[in-house]
Amino acid sequence: MSPSDAPVTAPGRAAAPGAPVVSARTIRKSFGEKDVLRDISFDVPEGGVTVVLGPSGSGKTTLLRSLGGLERPDAGVITIGGTTVDFADLTPNRHGRLPRAQREQEDALAAQTGFVFQGHNLFAHKTTLDNITEGPIVVQGEDPEAARERARVLLEQVGLSEHADKYPFQLSGGQQQRVGIARALAQRPAVVLFDEPTSALDPETVGEVLTVMRDLAEQSWTMVVVTHEIRFAREVADDVLFIDGGVVVERGAPEQVILEPQEPRTQAFLKRILDPL
């Protein structure tokens, strides 16, 4: 069996054995006067799937973007795959630029994550295959042929082998999102972050994306998923985090948080999405 025939599984990360792959401690973030994240802490163990639930505007996207390096928390400590940044220690100038060493540390943290956007954000001028190989070849300096080979395996995994040479506009929404997932996996991240990956999709293509994500969970990828797909959360999540008003209101196993929520806010939220009428 050649290496490329092997199913692509999550790269093993050896920090301290048994240590969580993702650890967020007292993450704080405000936009102007508005405190969006107020002391959020949680861990994700290796191979674990954490689903983040919460009403609109509760800070889910901000939390995920903070983990993925797209937003800089005001304070808190994030450790991913053995790389740690203590945000209280950063000293950005008034244009938000960090001193070189701090910037490199922040980049190293971001490099541990793969990000799947709500609106896929595929590079419109690149084919499916080139979208996936862009990071490995250009940023990581991987051998182009090897990167393409790896990309083809990833495409097979998300069921899009025959679409390798198409441009994003030639694909359906569900297919585009699956390419987005393959692009994130090609980074060999310690954790894959999903921000409502299906909420911008036509209903009939939601299933194919969730199926791919379920496969990834089975292959032991560590994942943090923001979603309103309650069934997916119940069946796939190891851990559910319900956040509201920038704090973790309730957390636990899906059976517990989804089927027997303790907090009134969680109960109200679940009632709203499970029974919208």
């Binding site: 244009h95 938000g96 630029r97 980049d107 971001a110 419109a124 001028h125 990071g135 250009v138």
Partner: protein, 491 residues
């Protein structure tokens, strides 16, 4: 969070260094050298060697440029003077209205172009003794629709004159309304076509025109009272004039001046047909297109795009200073005429010690101009790319610079191609303006060809065809580029 990538500045510097030799040895400066072969009669060390002489090259029969050769009455007199002084003479083709600006900024040392002596000029310049004396004549169209018969009739009529010539002052004195023209050829055409009512100009020049034109269509109706004396002019304090006057006096005495005069004013020159003219000049004009207009366009556009990219990044920067600098630059470029920019770079910079030859000066002026216009095109194209593209690039580990280069600019290029093609096509045509700063591009070459024959419609027509061909080729490339960029969008 776009800040100017620092290495882009290095790129520009590298580009400038790479281009420098090309700029310095670039074609376009009109200069021809005549070597003095006989032994000097008067040795002198007040003269630079070669002595650079400003002349129009389009004022028949005084100053004519044919290919690289200058001929004409003033040229022959100047050559003879040079020979007698033992200095090499080099001609710099210069439009009349730039003549004294160019003399002032040191583009050449002396003017030989029917400069009429006047008290004002005497104050500003060193003038030689006269080498020919002539008078003004009043010229009207053959049918004389406004019935002008004497200078007094000029009151309220339109007269075509060079704006900086002394004949303009004469016409104005008699109350004419002045229509500015570029030379005698153009003045005559305007007169025949009825766009002006009269011309006051040099008797000898007019006589030559009537004698050599296949179809003059104009007639002389009066002469001015006073005579005009043609002199050479140099900067004040040149110290040239004693030696030049001595040579002129000798030439007067030994009949050399008369002999030169006869070659131009007693001869019966047969004018070539327009077809001969086209045949003779299609080659030189194509050469001007290939060696001057096209390189000028390509270089200016390439450098201009780099400037535009830098200015666009400056405009989008978070820091106030780059934003202010970029904004000021764009505003100055877009808020002032290109012609004025050309004049400033070519004539004003030398007074501050920055002396550029015509081609590099033209490249600089046009690049700055393209940069100012294209900056806004690039900025709006970059800003039209969704923020998600930047973020996706960031999540795969790209720096902002790499993201700009590999993700944003390629997509922005699609939006920018049509407006940038317009900029490029305008640039091709704008290169013709550089003739004013002595660049011998297509139009200037056409003027040289047309001047001695007074048949400039054929030459301007030919010039138009050349410009049109270049612009058509660009349009074809534009279509190709648009097609290429539309591969990845739904149509």
């Amino acid at each position: 969070m776009i800040t100017l990538p620092r290495r882009l500045a290095h790129l520009v510097l590298a580009l400038a260094i790479a281009l420098a030799p090309a700029l310095l040895s670039a074609p376009g400066a009109a200069a021809a050298t005549t070597t003095a072969s006989t032994t000097p009669a008067i040795a002198s060390d007040v003269f630079p060697d070669p002595l650079r002489v400003g002349t129009e090259g389009v004022y028949a029969p005084f100053s004519i440029k044919q290919g690289d050769e200058f001929t004409g009455f003033d040229i022959d007199v100047m050559n003879e003077v040079g020979k007698r002084l033992g200095v090499e003479v080099e001609y710099v083709a210069t439009p009349w209205d730039s003549m004294f600006a160019a003399l002032g900024s040191g583009r050449f040392d002396i003017v030989a172009n029917q400069v009429t002596a006047s008290p004002e000029r005497e104050q500003l310049y060193d003038l030689s003794d006269p080498y020919v004396e002539t008078g003004g004549v009043l010229v009207v169209a053959e049918d004389n629709p406004k019935d002008i018969t004497e200078l007094a009739d000029l009151k309220g009529k339109k007269a075509a004159e060079n704006l900086t010539s002394s004949w303009r002052e004469v016409a104005e004195e008699y109350g004419a309304e002045i229509v500015g023209v570029d030379g005698m050829t153009e003045a005559m055409a305007n007169l025949k076509q009825g766009r002006v009512d009269a011309i006051v100009n040099d008797k000898l020049a007019v006589r030559n025109y009537i004698a050599t034109s296949p179809d003059p269509g104009v007639k002389v109706v009066a002469e001015t009272d006073d005579t005009a004396q043609s002199v050479f002019a140099a900067k004040k304090g040149s110290g040239y004039m004693p030696a030049i006057n001595k040579a002129l006096a000798e030439m007067e005495q030994d009949g050399t001046t008369q002999r030169i005069y006869d070659t131009y004013f007693a001869a019966d020159v047969k004018a070539p047909t327009w077809w001969d003219l086209v045949k003779d000049n299609a080659g030189p004009m194509a050469l001007a297109a290939i060696t001057v207009t096209i390189p000028l366009t390509v270089l200016s556009f390439a450098i201009g795009l780099v400037l535009a990219l830098i200015a666009a990044m400056g405009r989008m920067s978070h820091a106030a200073l780059p934003r202010a600098i970029a904004r000021t630059y764009i505003s100055i470029i877009r808020g002032t005429p290109l012609l004025v920019q050309l004049y400033l770079i070519f004539f004003a910079l030398p007074q501050m010690g920055v002396d550029l030859s015509p081609f590099p000066a033209a490249v600089i002026a046009l690049s700055l101009n393209v940069g100012g216009y294209a900056a806004e095109v690039i900025r709006s194209a970059v800003e039209s790319i969704p923020k998600g593209q930047w973020e996706a690039a960031q999540t795969i580990g790209m720096s902002r610079r790499t993201a700009l280069r590999r993700i944003i600019l390629p997509q922005a290029a699609r939006t920018a191609v049509p407006p940038l093609s317009n900029t490029l096509i305008s640039l091709v045509k704008d290169t013709s303006l550089t003739s004013i700063i002595l660049v011998v591009e297509i139009l200037r070459q056409a003027q040289f060809a047309a001047a001695p024959t007074f048949q400039f419609m054929a030459m301007y027509g030919l010039a138009a065809i050349y410009f049109w061909i270049i612009c058509m080729v660009i349009s074809i490339f534009q279509d190709r580029a648009e097609e290429r960029f539309s591969r990845y969008v739904a149509v």
